[in-house]
């Protein structure tokens, strides 16, 4: 069966009278990195939030692995294999990096009504969490409090948490937001290491990063996807250049 991993059909979202998502169709294939680009206010984060369940769409349908998940709660989608990172860093600040990632591991294995045994002695869980930290290169800072590490490291932590959930699809909302060039390069390196292994829906502003990572691209303008194609073809698409790249490179 050649079914896409994620398939979005005719998605619409209104806030009051404002249309944030407009007849949106999108699909992500297994093992692919699919990027969504678009100008500010195009509705990228609104889209991610609807995919991960924080926002309810006004109408439309979202299928994941052939199952209709439109009515699922955020938590249920996460358990089904959709992991999200946030554009604005959203980690548990007073906890250590390891504790943060352990929470992600714990969330995915679904056994949290355990009241007695200490997680600090749960070596299986610690190992799994450490593995994710290694993947993003944070293993040497595992015991630091999240509030005390750098912004770039917290962005990496976001990715590690998403990874630790053992997801089938990673929803990454501008993972490079607010990063310096060195940090960005580091993140690109981490993400390319994941390529081929996991399906990723990447929302990103940094065009260089997008072009080096993505297999395919969708361009979102005013809540509507105006083009979807391979990276090379999009680069040469005149509509896209006018609508989006033109502005940026003008």
């Amino acid at each position: 069966m050649n079914q896409p991993l994620l398939e979005v059909t005719d998605l619409n979202k209104n806030f009051g009278g404002i249309i944030a998502t407009n007849r949106l169709y999108l699909s992500v294939e297994q093992g692919q990195v699919h990027a969504v680009i678009g100008p500010n206010g195009a509705g990228k984060t609104t889209l991610i939030s609807q995919l991960s369940g924080q926002l309810k769409p006004t109408s439309g349908r979202i299928d994941f692995e052939g199952r209709n998940i439109t009515g699922f709660s955020t938590a249920r989608r996460a358990r089904a294999g959709l992991a999200r990172s946030f554009q604005i860093t959203s980690v548990i600040m007073p906890m250590t990096l390891l504790e943060n990632v352990m929470l992600a591991v714990q969330g995915s294995d679904g056994h949290s009504f355990r009241f007695w045994s200490s997680v600090q002695r749960d070596s299986a869980m610690i190992d799994a969490a450490m593995k994710s930290l290694v993947e993003v290169g944070l293993d040497d800072r595992a015991d630091r409090i999240a509030a005390q590490v750098s912004h770039g490291e917290r962005r990496q932590l976001e990715v590690a948490m998403a990874l630790a959930m053992g997801p089938k699809l990673l929803l990454l909302d501008e993972p490079m937001a607010g990063m310096g060039s060195e940090e960005t390069a580091r993140m690109v390196e981490i993400l390319s290491g994941l390529k081929g292994d996991k399906a990723i829906l990447l929302i990103e502003h940094d065009m260089d990063a997008v072009f080096s990572l993505a297999d395919s691209l969708s361009v979102l303008v005013n809540g509507h996807i105006i083009a979807t194609d391979t990276v090379e073809k999009i680069r040469n698409n005149s509509d896209v250049q006018r609508a989006y790249l033109g502005e940026e490179h003008a």
């Binding site: 991960s52 369940g53 924080q54 709660s73 955020t74 938590a75 249920r76 996460a78 358990r79 992991a83 999200r84 946030f86 959203s90 980690v91 548990i92 600040m93 007073p94 906890m95 250590t96 504790e99 352990m102 929470l103 992600a104 714990q106 969330g107 995915s108 679904g110 056994h111 949290s112 009504f113 355990r114 009241f115 007695w116 045994s117 200490s118 997680v119 600090q120 749960d122 948490m161 959930m165």
Partner: protein, 320 residues
């Protein structure tokens, strides 16, 4: 997050618990049996404060209606006793059942809200319980209910004598401390603490946080109910006045004075509260003035409560 403090504060707390363990002996040697009463009352309130700390300190759920559970627990002793049922297991079972059920039903509604709305809705429910008991004339209404005999347990568990009752209370306190210590370090506790700081994130990690918070709320209610059951036995009396909203406020102070979200904070805070109440009211009938100023100063200048100050010693020691 480190929950059990090491070094200075840990030493202080261990010493504190050890003192509590031998307190009845000390008081009998110096022939001051009244201090045992004061301490018993303090420890009961400490159990209640510990239970509140579980939702308030660890879970970030600020309840202004926690005293309702003290009342419910006490009436679970008083009402059966009114019909001459003195079996302690019955009292205990009833307490767990009723306070758990009440927490489940009200918590299911309260936890749909957040922040100040949560504060107000917990207040609303506790006021409803308060007025219900005021109107239950059969059980004394506003005048309250005298409990003639303590809950009856097998001899080795008897709470008849003041010392036996004290050790009952002390044991429940130790169990509560240990249970909460395990709980917050276990998977369940991690979810609760995580949800306090970032509930959205926890949901996107796959947690149906509502269920965990509700469970935590029920556990807290049951522990506080048990404290109420002990309170009923200790005072031999229960009246609706014990669950007014100002009592819930006092419980919050006990938690915050000591240090919210720390294991021993509520215990120390309660000790400070009961001591101040007794000591200041001895000095002057205007003691509320001093107490009020201390509360204000605590918030404005003394971050982290007593536990916070002790931890400051720990940090100094580490640096030194």
């Amino acid at each position: 997050m480190r929950i059990l403090p090491k070094t200075v504060s840990a030493g202080v707390y261990t010493g504190f618990l050890a003192l509590l363990a031998i307190a009845p002996w000390i008081f009998s040697v110096i022939d001051e049996p009244f201090y045992l009463d004061l301490l018993s009352r303090g420890l009961i309130l400490a159990i209640a404060a510990l239970s509140l700390n579980l939702i308030l300190g660890y879970g970030g759920m600020v309840s202004l209606g926690h005293a309702a559970y003290l009342g419910i627990g006490a009436y679970c002793v008083g009402i059966p006793a009114y019909y001459d049922f003195y079996n302690g297991w019955l009292h205990l079972g009833l307490t767990v059942l009723v306070s758990g059920l009440f927490a489940l039903v009200t918590g299911a509604i309260c936890l749909r809200t957040k922040g100040v709305y949560f504060i107000m809705i917990t207040l609303a429910f506790s006021q409803m319980v308060y007025f219900t008991f005021v109107s239950l004339e059969e059980y004394g209404g506003d005048d309250g209910l005298v409990i003639y005999l303590r809950s009856e347990f097998p001899t080795w568990l008897s709470m008849e004598s003041p010392v036996a009752l004290y050790y009952w209370i002390f044991t429940v306190l130790l169990i509560t401390l240990f249970f909460i210590h395990r709980l917050v370090h276990a998977r369940f506790g991690r979810v609760i603490v995580g949800s306090r700081f970032n509930e959205d994130r926890m949901q996107s990690l796959g947690y149906s946080t509502y269920r965990y918070r509700l469970t935590c709320y029920v556990i807290s209610g049951v522990i506080c109910g048990i404290a109420g059951m002990l309170l009923g036995n200790f005072t031999s009396f229960i009246s609706p006045e014990m669950m007014g909203w100002t009592r819930s406020g006092e419980l919050i102070f006990m938690v915050v004075i000591g240090g919210a979200g720390t294991l021993f904070g509520p215990l120390v805070g309660t000790a400070a509260f009961v001591f101040l109440e007794e000591f200041l009211s001895y000095i002057t009938i205007y003691w509320h003035l001093i107490f009020g100023l201390m509360l204000i100063a605590l918030v404005l200048f003394g971050k982290g409560g007593i536990h916070g100050w002790l931890s400051a010693f720990d940090r100094k020691e580490k640096r030194g």
